[in-house]
């Protein structure tokens, strides 16, 4: 039987993938205004990892702005001192926890009376409200969500044509990009407009946001061009509205997926092992099958 050699078929498959990818990139360039914007993230793609300085700046923005209403309960103070994250010195995090504006409540003292106490390293990063009801009462009925998983729990909707969605899918798989959540948070934080478009009736206490579903959000613009969060001179970036948004989004991405750095590092080791083993097994299989025609 004349059948192409497996090696040739493999080469053909690789060639096909490269052509598809090339086509995808060109199609992307052709249709830029149709697809929602994808931001550059240091942690995106198969080579990505968090930028420690960015996570530290992002935490600063989170602490100064977001904590006014939001909690980050799935992250504990000690996580802020762990590698692969902002990696602050432990002493600094201890001091941070001890000076946190909100207290852990609901625990009992030795007489059985409920007490409030300051958080420690092992405690969650709490927000101002003891429970959802208190939050809603203080926020005009709206609930500021816990931000621990916000980046993983959101994505951007693609409005591309059906064939471009398939091309995008191939591109995302080949480049290992799954960062629609960070794109969404960036879009949301930069999506506020002073005035709604003509003819749009705004409900009381709502703000117009082009990204938010329904465009009416209860959160006032947390960051703006007029109120830039200033960074330390050695923070690694110059403060600006856009930089504030990028940094806090990166920090929230870490909060949602703190094992990303460890995962990708192990991933390269596993892939290296698998590729080498596959090649060795292929050579062994060739030698074994050389004994018979097939």
């Amino acid at each position: 039987m004349t059948r192409p050699e497996p090696a040739w078929r493999l080469a053909a498959a690789v060639l096909l993938a490269v052509v598809a990818l090339g086509g995808a990139v060109r199609a992307e360039e052709a249709g830029k205004e149709e697809t929602p914007a994808r931001q550059q993230w240091s942690f995106a793609g198969f080579t990505g990892s968090y930028n420690q300085a960015q996570l530290q700046r992002g935490f600063q923005v989170f602490q100064q702005v977001c904590t006014a209403c939001h909690s980050l309960k799935r992250v504990r103070f000690r996580n802020l001192a762990e590698p692969g994250g902002p990696d602050f010195p432990v002493e600094a995090v201890k001091a941070l926890a001890a000076s946190w504006p909100y207290q852990i409540s609901g625990e009992l003292d030795d007489e059985g009376h409920p007490i409030d106490r300051l958080p420690g390293l092992a405690d969650p990063i709490i927000g101002p409200y003891k429970n959802d009801k208190e939050a809603r009462a203080a926020q005009n009925g709206a609930l500021p969500p816990d931000l621990s998983l916000i980046v993983r729990a959101r994505t951007i909707e693609s409005h591309a044509s059906w064939y471009r969605q398939w091309i995008n899918m191939v591109r995302d798989i080949v480049t290992a990009r799954q960062d629609g959540g960070a794109d969404y948070v960036y879009d949301l934080l930069t999506g506020f407009r002073d005035q709604p478009p003509a003819g749009v009736e705004m409900a009381d206490g709502k703000y117009y946001n082009v990204t938010f579903p329904g465009h009416q959000i209860s959160m006032p613009p947390p960051l703006s061009k007029d109120n830039v969060i200033e960074y330390q001179p050695n923070a690694g970036a110059k403060a600006s509205f856009d930089q504030n948004v990028r940094d806090v989004t990166a920090f929230l991405a870490w909060a949602a997926d703190p094992s990303l750095d460890a995962r990708k590092k192990l991933g390269w080791q596993v892939l290296f092992y698998l590729v080498i083993t596959t090649l060795l097994l292929y050579v062994a299989k060739k030698r074994i099958w050389a004994r018979v025609k097939h």
Partner: protein, 422 residues
């Protein structure tokens, strides 16, 4: 099937002692070392081994996850986040298990389409095929219940939508559907009780699959493997011993597939899931689009393509049940589509249809999408009910080689091999 005869000879004293009492070593040797495999198998035949690996891997990672997971409505979501954040390599176990389920289905689909293309369901492999379909059904039930366990928004609402399908039976016997749904839920709504029983069944069903896989292998080793030519092994020269030939090829296929698996586990663990499942289940908030996992999307598209709920449910279940009748629906005398010039085109159109239905299942049920879903649903069923019986009868197949050996070596060499073998 022992064309080559058993080469098993216990070497140790213990081996000889065991061989006279419980010859399990002899059984394994006969079935997995000497077992004759066609010499012309391609890499598509490595997926059976890949699937066996994934079943075992899912059971192992699942058992580890079960040590940390808490199946209650209040704790389920948090316990999975704790596994990811605080259990040593918990994120790895969780990603291996969740991505593993997707890879299990991907491999199963390749395996099923391979069977369809090369006619592996035709006599005498009907029972082998039917057991395979049963494995597929139990796999789907297991995956569906597993998807409920994270108790995120998509978990909760997928359970709500799918269990509610049974309420369509109310239109046959009033109250029947509602009774069944309440029995499934263990109450009047999807709740922690539902989660508990799904968790129990999710732990049980993989072992049912393992049992069925045993039967699947047993049936396979009675009738022997099909081959790309669709011809059976008839003579010694048609086959090679399973070890080291098929095993060495299986190892290559499996490791190549593991590269894909690792790519998703380490670089794209969220890609195949849904962002809404990172929001804890909330019975008061319905997500805008409720979609199942990617491997159920074609059936979901068929369900929504039909305007009547009861008939939609019937169509969805029929789309899988029809597979049971494939051995008798296909009237062709030739097994392999390689020798079926007309049928081949219908096969590839069917493969395209399944992918298209998958795409449409991921979209909201709006006019254009529903229109195309209906077109493809019609072809999905037409392929089994019209194409298979009719094309088999109409088509003039290409000339088949006399044997596997002839297909590989050519006519003269095959005769020489025949003589040498005798």
């Amino acid at each position: 099937m022992s064309l080559h005869g058993s080469t098993y000879e216990p070497k140790s004293g213990f081996g000889k002692w065991m061989d006279e009492r419980l010859p399990i070593g002899r059984l394994m040797h006969t079935q997995f070392v000497d077992f004759p495999t066609p010499r012309n198998l391609n890499y598509l035949w490595t997926f059976g081994g890949i699937l066996t690996f994934f079943l075992m891997a899912q059971i192992v990672t699942g058992i580890v996850l079960a040590m940390h997971y808490q199946p209650s409505a209040a704790a389920a979501f948090n316990s999975i986040e704790d596994i990811r954040r605080d259990v040593n390599y918990g994120w790895l176990m969780r990603d291996l298990h969740a991505v593993g389920a997707s890879m299990f289905f991907l491999a199963a689909y390749i395996h099923i389409f391979r069977g369809l293309y090369y006619g592996s369901y035709k006599s005498p492999r009907e029972v082998l095929w039917i057991i395979g379909v049963l494995i597929f059904v139990v796999m789907m039930a297991t995956a569906f219940m597993g998807y409920s366990l994270p108790w995120g928004q998509m978990s909760f609402w997928a359970v709500t939508v799918i269990t509610n399908l049974f309420s369509s039976l109310d239109s046959i016997i009033n109250g029947l559907g509602t009774t069944i749904v309440q029995w499934l839920w263990g109450g009047y709504a999807v709740s922690g009780t539902t989660l508990n029983r799904f968790y129990s069944l999710h732990y049980l069903l993989p072992f049912v699959i393992a049992g069925l896989v045993g039967l699947h292998l047993w049936a396979l080793h009675i009738v022997g493997q099909n081959s790309p030519t669709g011809l059976d092994v008839k003579t010694k020269s048609d086959a090679v011993p399973m070890h080291p030939y098929a095993t060495s090829k299986d190892a290559v296929g499996m490791f190549a597939f593991l590269i894909l698996f690792a790519w998703f586990v380490f670089f794209l663990p969220d890609y195949l899931g849904h962002p809404d499942n990172f929001i804890p289940a909330n019975p008061l908030v319905t997500p805008p689009h409720i979609v199942p996992e990617w491997y159920f999307l074609p059936y979901y598209a068929i369900l929504r393509a039909i305007p009547n709920k009861l008939f939609g449910v019937i169509a969805m279940f029929s789309s899988i049940a029809v597979l049971l009748f494939v051995p008798w629906l296909d009237r062709s005398r030739v097994r392999s589509a390689k020798y079926r010039p007309l049928y081949k085109w219908f096969f590839w159109l069917f493969a395209f249809t399944c992918v298209a239905l998958g795409y449409l299942g991921s979209k909201p049920p709006e006019a254009t999408y529903v229109f195309w879903a209906r077109i493809f649903t019609i072809y999905y069923f037409a392929y089994f009910l019209i194409v298979m019986p009719l094309v088999g009868w109409l088509e003039k197949p290409k000339k088949l080689p006399g044997s596997i050996t002839e297909a590989v070596l050519g006519k003269d060499a095959a005769q020489a091999a025949q003589v040498a073998a005798e």
